[in-house]
Amino acid sequence: MKKFINDPEMVVVEELEGVALAHPDLVKVHFDPNYVVRADAPVQGKVGIISGGGSGHEPMHGGFVGYGMLDAACPGAVFTSPTPDQMLEATKAVDGGAGVLHIVKNYTGDIMNFEMAADLAKAEGMQVESVVIDDDVAVQDSLWTAGRRGVGSTVLAEKLCGAAAELGRSLSEVTDVCIKVKNMGRSMGMALTSCTVPHAGEPTFDLPEDEMEIGVGIHGEPGRARLPLKPADEIVEMLMEPIVSDLPYKAGDEVLLFVNSMGGTPLIELYIAYRKAYQICEQHGIKVVRNLIGSYITSLEMAGVSITLLKMDEDMLKLWDHPVLTPGLRWGK
């Protein structure tokens, strides 16, 4: 394992220390329980927005705390959902009297831990809503399984809900925005290499030089299929087809196209992916009206790409364009 770390045990804490030193103007970091919270929290009268999940997906979620996005983020151990006390304390810290929205990615652990936290917070008299993001079309959806994983749409939900809250919308209105993202967003990812959980010390999976994992999860969960390595354009087709046909996205739809690096894939390759994804949208008559290209929801150093489409309406465009000022996403401020 080759990582730029000290002790595997200390990775999350030391990273959070770095965040605290780097962005004191934007965020405060609370330790034990661990959460990252807006420097000016709680914002009175504003709906508070919280997300969280295992570490190793940076900048998600801690990097999205700040004006116009999250009020707090709860980082768990690497790839392990955080514990209820983190979410409870964070919820208390951001509650400005207008209620708190929990944006949860659909993983059994995240669901259960957030559920316990929400129960505890409600028991203490707080108003809490939860929306579960489950946009990964790599996974077959069914009432009988854990359902789809939450991936790229989460970043977009955090942005749009953050803007809605900033605009003074109510908890139920902000929740509706989140549900819209949940309903209108679809994603799929793939890996060229495995990631290595620091504590585990060896790659989560073995991927021979000439193979790739299509439909991989952001924790290195195996995907739909292991296939021979293909040129970028073919891979993008393999990702786009299930995405487009799932919602389905149709001619005339306006979308945000989000091309994401799993961590180890550099920007030069992302633009090659973006180019092909854009062309496929064009072929379908789908209009790309906004985009996001970069490392936003990662899997440690895994090489790979994920693509998210989000169908946009006028309100969502307005919320997307609203200023945001966080360590990981910043414009207009």
Partner: protein
Amino acid sequence: MSIYRDDTLEWITACADVLDENSHYLTKLDAAIGDGDHGINMDRGFNAVMLKIPEVADKDIGTIFKTVGMTLISTVGGAAGPLYGTFFLQAGMKSTGKMELNLEDWLLALESAVAGVVMRGKAELGDKTMVDALSPAVDSLKHSMDDHLSIGQAIQLSAEAAKQGMVDTIPWVARKGRASYLGERSAGHQDPGATSSYLILQAAADTWADS
């Protein structure tokens, strides 16, 4: 014969030991069909438990189990944290004020613990989860009660039932938890949570063999 307060403390210590020894093994199982952290998660949780236990070592069994549960909830995370946390919390509820447990007490505690896991995780038998190891253990205990076996014998049989349940998960397709994302590809692998459940129940059987 009874399980005394100190026996439960011994069991918790044995759990910590066996999970530490098997941390890498559990993680490998989880890497195959999950995200490769189950052993790390359980080890982290039981390390925290071992630090917490001295504070309540002179309390009743209910308090001890509840403390284990609360500690697991706030240190394990992932799916296993709320599930094993609920497991010990529920066992603790049923043992409130008790300084010793007879076989019926233990059955009620375990039954309630497993019911808590099912309520929290909504998994059914055959979904390829820890429930597949835990549930057969409860059933086995019930039979042993009917057959008037000793606690030691009963608990050994319940651990064996858990082991069988664990092994049964191998060919199944997961329908709950992270392994369910794999669909058919989850078949052929033993469920890590079922494995840790077996290890925990086997630790009870080993610790309480003479009870």
